[in-house]
Every structure is written in structure tokens, then in C-alpha cells.
């Protein structure tokens, strides 16, 4: 087809400009004609206005074989009818047959652009579509640059759900995932293991654990405290030396398969009409306005107008005009926030406060232990920070440990350090479960935490200065379990302007500037 087009074009001299305008270099979206250039208008519903850049390449079979004869001929009637046909194909009323496939490009306009297609982004998209009135009122676009999710935290997660947090909002957020238990249409089987979490505390941490459990019970989580004696009765394979207290979650706690949830959400969300784009956000085009606060200070408010989405493996990009941007980019949210101008200002001011979310690498190891604990094994988190859980029926276990600040591995790649298992993970686990003295590591992988260096809790809500960017990131390892609730909260914020089911105002961005930490102690 290109060949025929070339022949047609050479005959007419129209194509020279057309070739330059399409398919080779970068698109300059800001051309004098605005957003024309055939730059991926929505097929069937948008018609690019006629401009000097539009190339006329019809697939009229009547022209096959006659192209050579066109060169230099003065066949006026044929020319006129051809031009007429081409004009008709682009004017309204005619069938829009774009000469090339643009389905990989995102639409030119979208009400909400969600940067990041992991579980948080999909959850926000789901709730936006679920809570919008009337149906189909909002166009939602999810931009995800890696459709294989090879580095996404969601896919690499160990998949636990627990309510044993210290901050009440976190507990409520995780209780909401009981929603996953409710039969949805169609029902989503996420392979949930309702085995519960068992947190162990040493002498030092026992008092904190007791107060945490009180808070958890107040919020409605079903947690029971166990003494070492009771622990030995219930789980005879635990060595309770050094354990002063244990808290055991009885309901809605356990683990599930995050990949199932991700794929299920994707399918569900696509069926609800959310658009997906395989691309990367490279630029925000925004405008600023200066206003004064009530105390007379000058502030600069920014508003994002366009999101430039660069298509994967290509230099092509599409500017998407949007009303809202939701930053759900997980481990890369800091970079997205920088693109939007968050943190560009003198340090110590609100303009200069960066989003303190960075990626931290965490290792997960899978081992086999033939004499290991049986079917009743909960997700055990030792006082030292090492954790493990049962995987399947074949005496396999998944586990790991969060490194201390000094030992943080380099997050540049996802290579696994096996020495870390030998030195930091195995000894505490073998001490806690003597059966783990003999084990064999089967495999290991690494994933990212979107680690909030400020207080290890999520950031939810709009930015105070970039008024139409909303954050839903920074969950530091417990984003998967909080995803349904966070998605609903952000959707409520977007649609109603305030939180309704769970009040997440303690997780607002401004706490980074004000210095108010909402410190979560039970981070694994």
C-alpha cells in the first residue's frame, strides 16, 4: 500500500510533504495547525479537518495499474474525480478510512488520565466507572508503559492482606478488601488463602503490639493476642524463645494471587469502558496562575492541560488533553511528580516539597522444606522482620526480610542477592522454626516497594499547588491490600470532592510540608 501510495504521490507531488509529516520523525504536536496531523483521532468519532498536511491516500482499486500512466498526463477528469473521492473520505458524512492504523494511540481527549496500570491505577479506574453518574459520563484513560508488568510491584508482590496495622486508616483500608469477598459480577477468584497473619513480638515490642491490637479491634478487625504458651499449643513447630506476645488475625487475613487480581481487574475495567494505552508519560503541559492566599502570600497554582504519551518502542507521542491526572505510577511516582513540577522550588517551601516516594528493592525467596509446617501455617512475621508463608501444598514457602536502611540494595535493577538470604533471612527463620534448618532455595525474585521515605504510608489526594494532579501512591509494600479502598477514595474525591467511605485526609500531600508524620509501625 505504501508502494502504491508512493506511486500516487510521485505522480502528484502531494506525497512528498505527506511522507515527511507522517511516520518518520517526532510529531510536533504544537504545530501551527494545532492538533491536526492525523495524530490518532478517535477512529470513527473524530474527523481530522482538512489541512495541507493530510495526505490523500485512498484505496481505490480503480487506480491499480494505472499509476504509471498518471505521470505527467493531463487527464483532468480522472484527476478531479480522484480528488473528489479523497475529499469525501475525510469530510464529515463519509466513511472515515484512515490510511493507517491508529488504534495504538491514545485518544486526543480524555477526562481522567491515570498514569500507571497496576492494581492501584486499575482500582481507581474501576471505581471511577462504578461511581460515575450517569453511566459513560467520564472517559478514563490508563497509561501503562509495560503491558507485561515485568517490573510492576503488583505482579511481584507476595500478596498478603492483613489488618494488623497501627494507623486506624490503614486498618480500615484493609478491611475494605473484604469487598473482594463479595461476589462481584463476574466473580473474581483470586485464590485467597484465609490463613491469617501471625505477628510475633519480643519483650520490647510487646507493649506496642498490645496497643496496636486495641486500635485494630476498635476498627473492627478480628485479632487475638496469644501468649507463648498458647502459641506453642496452636503451632507446635514454632520455637517461642524470645517471643513475648503474638497477635493472630482470625478473619479476612491471609494471602492471594496478585496476578489473578490484576488480570481480573484489567478485564473488568476494560469491559466497563476504560481505555488503555501502551505508552509512557514524558511530559505535562500545564499553565500557571498566580494568586494570593488569605494571609497575603503569593502562590503559583499550576494546572495540567495535556499529557504527552510516548508510544512504546517508537518516537511517536500523542498529546492527550485531560482534566485530571492521577499519579498511580508506584515505584516511579517520584519521576512523574517531577515532570509535573512538584518539588521545583526553594527547599523548605510548599513548592519545593518533593514527593518522597522512591523505589526500594525487596527480595522474595521460595524454598522447599520437606519437614516444614503444614497446612495451617499463617503468614508469620517474626519480631526481627523476617517473614514467610506457605505456598501451595508441596511444603514450599515464600519469604524474605526488609533490609535496614544501611543495607538497602541498589534499586537500579531487579537482580537478586542470594547472600542476603543466607545472612539475613535464613538465620532468624531457622531460629523461629527449627524445621527450617534444612531447606533448599528453589527460586527468588526481586520487586520494588514504592517506598515513602517520610512515614511509610500512602499519599492520597490532590496536590495543593498542581491542582489537578491526584496522588495514589507511596504505600511502601502494602498497596496491594489497600488498593480497593484507595481506588474508591480517589474516585470519591474526584467525583464528589471529598472522601465518603473512609476519610483519608491524614494521607494528604501537605503533611510532607507541614512535617506531620502518620507513622506506620507495622511495616514488613
Amino acid at each position: 500500500m505504501l508502494r502504491r501510495a508512493l506511486q500516487l504521490g510521485l505522480g502528484r507531488g502531494l506525497l512528498g510533504r505527506g511522507l515527511l509529516g507522517r511516520g518518520l520523525g517526532t510529531h510536533r504536536g504544537g504545530s501551527t495547525l494545532g492538533k491536526v496531523e492525523g495524530s490518532g483521532g478517535y477512529r470513527g468519532s473524530w474527523v481530522a479537518p482538512v489541512s495541507s498536511y493530510v495526505t490523500f491516500r485512498t484505496r481505490d482499486p480503480a487506480h491499480d495499474g494505472k499509476t504509471v500512466g498518471r505521470l505527467g498526463e493531463g487527464d483532468q477528469n480522472g484527476k478531479v474525480s480522484e480528488i473528489k473521492k479523497k475529499i469525501q473520505s475525510v469530510l464529515p458524512g463519509g466513511a472515515w478510512n484512515p490510511p493507517y492504523d491508529t488504534s495504538y494511540l491514545p485518544p486526543e481527549h480524555s477526562d481522567v488520565v491515570i498514569v500507571g496500570g497496576g492494581v492501584i491505577g486499575l482500582s481507581v479506574a474501576y471505581w471511577l466507572k462504578r461511581l460515575e453518574k450517569p453511566r459513560g459520563a467520564i472517559r478514563v484513560l490508563v497509561v501503562e508503559r509495560d503491558h507485561t508488568y515485568s517490573q510492576a510491584s503488583t505482579a511481584l508482590s507476595v500478596g498478603g492482606i492483613r489488618q494488623q496495622f497501627s494507623v486506624p486508616e490503614n486498618i480500615q483500608l484493609s478491611l475494605f478488601s473484604e469487598y473482594l469477598a463479595v461476589v462481584d459480577d463476574p466473580p473474581l477468584d483470586i485464590q485467597f488463602n484465609p490463613s491469617g497473619y501471625l505477628l510475633l513480638a519480643s519483650e520490647k515490642g510487646a507493649a506496642v503490639m498490645e496497643s496496636n491490637v486495641k486500635v485494630q479491634r476498635q476498627e473492627g478487625a478480628k485479632v487475638c493476642l496469644m501468649s507463648p504458651e498458647q502459641l506453642r499449643n496452636k503451632f507446635p513447630w514454632i520455637n517461642t524463645e524470645g517471643v513475648a506476645l503474638a497477635s493472630y488475625g482470625m478473619e479476612y487475613e491471609g494471602w492471594f494471587d496478585p496476578w489473578c487480581l490484576l488480570q481480573g481487574l484489567r478485564r473488568k475495567v476494560q469491559s466497563m469502558g476504560v481505555l488503555f494505552c501502551h505508552g509512557e508519560v514524558t511530559r505535562f503541559v500545564s499553565s500557571s496562575s498566580h494568586t494570593e492566599t488569605t494571609s497575603g502570600e503569593e502562590v503559583t497554582l499550576k494546572r495540567i492541560h495535556e499529557v504527552h504519551v510516548k508510544i512504546d518502542r517508537s518516537l511517536e507521542y500523542q498529546p492527550v488533553e485531560c482534566a485530571l491526572v492521577i499519579n498511580a505510577a508506584g515505584a516511579w511516582s517520584g519521576q512523574i511528580a517531577e515532570l509535573a513540577g512538584v518539588g521545583k522550588g526553594p527547599p523548605g517551601t510548599l513548592q519545593g516539597t518533593k514527593l518522597p516516594v522512591e523505589r526500594r528493592k525487596r527480595y522474595v525467596y521460595l524454598w522447599h522444606c520437606p519437614q516444614g509446617p503444614g497446612l495451617e501455617t499463617p503468614f508469620i512475621v517474626d519480631a526481627s522482620g523476617a517473614y514467610f508463608r506457605r505456598e501451595g501444598l508441596g511444603n514450599n514457602y515464600l519469604g524474605g526480610c526488609s533490609p535496614t536502611e544501611e543495607e538497602e540494595p541498589d534499586p537500579g535493577n531487579l537482580e537478586v542477592d542470594h547472600d542476603f538470604f543466607q545472612d539475613k533471612v535464613w538465620p532468624p527463620l531457622a531460629q523461629r522454626v527449627p524445621a527450617f534448618e534444612t531447606l533448599k532455595v528453589r527460586s527468588a525474585w526481586a520487586g520494588y516497594y514504592d517506598y515513602n521515605t517520610f512515614d511509610q504510608n500512602g499519599v492520597v489526594g490532590p496536590h495543593p499547588l498542581v491542582v489537578n494532579m491526584y496522588f495514589a501512591t507511596g504505600f511502601s509494600g502494602h498497596g496491594l491490600q489497600q488498593a480497593p479502598a484507595v481506588g474508591r477514595a480517589v474516585a470519591e474525591m474526584v467525583l464528589d470532592g471529598h472522601f465518603q467511605t473512609i476519610n483519608l485526609s491524614p494521607f494528604h500531600f501537605s503533611r510532607f510540608y507541614l512535617g506531620e508524620k502518620v507513622q506506620e509501625h507495622n511495616i514488613i
Binding site: V183, S195, G374, L375, T377
Partner: protein, 230 residues
């Protein structure tokens, strides 16, 4: 477990919305002997009565929780519905009696519906055979019955897998567990072995431990080995 008794013909009262109007026929109740201890068992009905059932059960249990000591009556074992699905009014006499066993086989009880069952603190026997909506999440909710539950039957529930069975270890007093014919369990024989290890004093019925093992070519007739004695 219980020897079969002659079914009572009882008529279920139909609760209207918000009112306690009872409409129904009461038939002759056939009582069989007197028991030393009052025991009463209820059988749930088909789906369309479930909401009504749940409400009635809830009201019943409020009574039960208040008065535990009155457990003597010439009672009968199973209170069933008759051909028309009605219970008699006489079950109201049993309000003060703790419910000991519930047969909810085939009933469309689901995750939220278990609320009414979990209030039965003295429940000893729970039959959830062939319930289409009972899944792993529901099994995770059964732990409040740990003190009293002795028999649990989950045979034929299409949604239960080995992951839900793992949460049964809370039920320390369980003596009989029936996990036969669970289509969603990936490896029935292995699951059964693991469940038996998990609940040492419980007799696990159902999945044959030899299931899933490839039969060698010399064994033409599948000779099902006898289960490991508990």
C-alpha cells in the same frame, strides 16, 4: 451421626415485612419419646425463604443466647419442613433451646448469611453439603464455632478449595470432617493427608488418599485402597 427419626410435619411461619404476623397451618406434631437433654435441630429451606429464614433465625438466636439453661423438653430431633416447605408453630417453643445441629445442605447460604449461623454458640454439627455459594472466605469465618463444633460436612461444595480448608485448623474440637467430592480442590488425596495432619483428633472422610496417584499399568481395576485409619 444421629439415627434417623420420623420427620415432624411442621409448618413454617411466614413473617411479613416488619410484622410478626404468623400465617400458617399447624398440623399434628408427632413427638417421639422424650429425651434427657433438649436438643433441637433446624433445617433450612429453599432459596426464596432464605431471607425470612435468616430473620427468624436471628430472632430465635437472640432468645437462645439469653437463656441457655432451659434445655429440657420433649423434644424432637430434626425439625423439618413438610412437602410444602412449611414449619409448624411449635418450633417457637424451642426458642430457649440452644441449637445443636444445623443442616443447611443445598441451601444458598453465602458469606453474609453465615452471620446467623455464627451466633449459635453451642452448635455441634453443621452440614453444608452442596451449598453453591460457600467458598474459602466463608470457611475463614467459621472460627467462632471452634469451642463447640464437632462435625462439619462440606461435601460437594463447588467453591471450596484446599486454601479454605487450611483455615479449619481453628476448629480444635472437630471430630468428623467430610470433604468428599470437592471439585475445586486441586489434589484431593494430598489435601486429605495435610488436613489429617492439621487436625490430629479429627476423622476426615471423603477424599481417598490414593486419589490422584497414577495407577500403574498392572492395576487394571482401580482398587481403591482403604483410607488411613484416623
Amino acid at each position: 451421626m444421629a439415627a434417623p427419626r420420623a420427620p415432624l410435619h411442621l409448618v413454617m411461619p411466614v413473617w411479613n415485612r416488619g410484622t410478626r404476623g404468623i400465617r400458617g397451618l399447624s398440623r399434628a406434631v408427632a413427638l417421639e419419646g422424650s429425651q434427657k437433654k433438649g436438643r433441637s435441630l433446624l433445617q433450612f429451606l429453599a432459596d426464596r425463604f432464605y431471607d425470612v429464614q435468616a430473620l427468624r433465625e436471628y430472632l430465635l438466636q437472640k432468645q437462645v443466647l439469653k437463656v441457655h439453661q432451659k434445655n429440657r423438653f420433649q423434644g424432637k430431633e430434626w425439625i423439618r419442613s413438610d412437602a410444602h416447605g412449611h414449619f409448624s408453630l411449635d418450633f417457637l417453643k424451642f426458642q430457649a433451646v440452644p441449637v445443636e445441629a444445623v443442616d443447611a445442605s443445598g441451601c444458598a447460604i453465602n458469606y453474609q448469611g453465615l452471620d446467623s449461623l455464627l451466633a449459635l454458640k453451642e452448635l455441634q454439627s453443621l452440614w453444608l453439603q452442596r451449598c453453591p455459594h460457600v467458598d474459602d472466605w466463608c470457611l475463614g469465618r467459621l472460627h467462632p464455632l471452634a469451642n463447640s463444633l464437632q462435625e462439619l460436612s462440606l461435601a460437594g461444595c463447588p467453591r471450596i478449595s484446599e486454601r479454605g480448608l487450611a483455615s479449619l485448623h481453628h476448629l480444635r474440637n472437630l471430630r468428623r470432617l467430610d470433604i468428599s467430592d470437592l471439585p475445586a480442590v486441586s489434589n484431593p488425596g494430598l489435601t486429605r493427608i495435610l488436613v489429617e495432619e492439621m487436625l490430629p483428633s479429627c476423622q476426615v472422610l471423603g477424599a481417598d488418599w490414593a486419589q490422584g496417584l497414577p495407577s500403574g499399568p498392572e492395576e487394571q481395576s482401580q482398587d481403591r485402597a482403604s483410607p488411613i485409619p484416623a
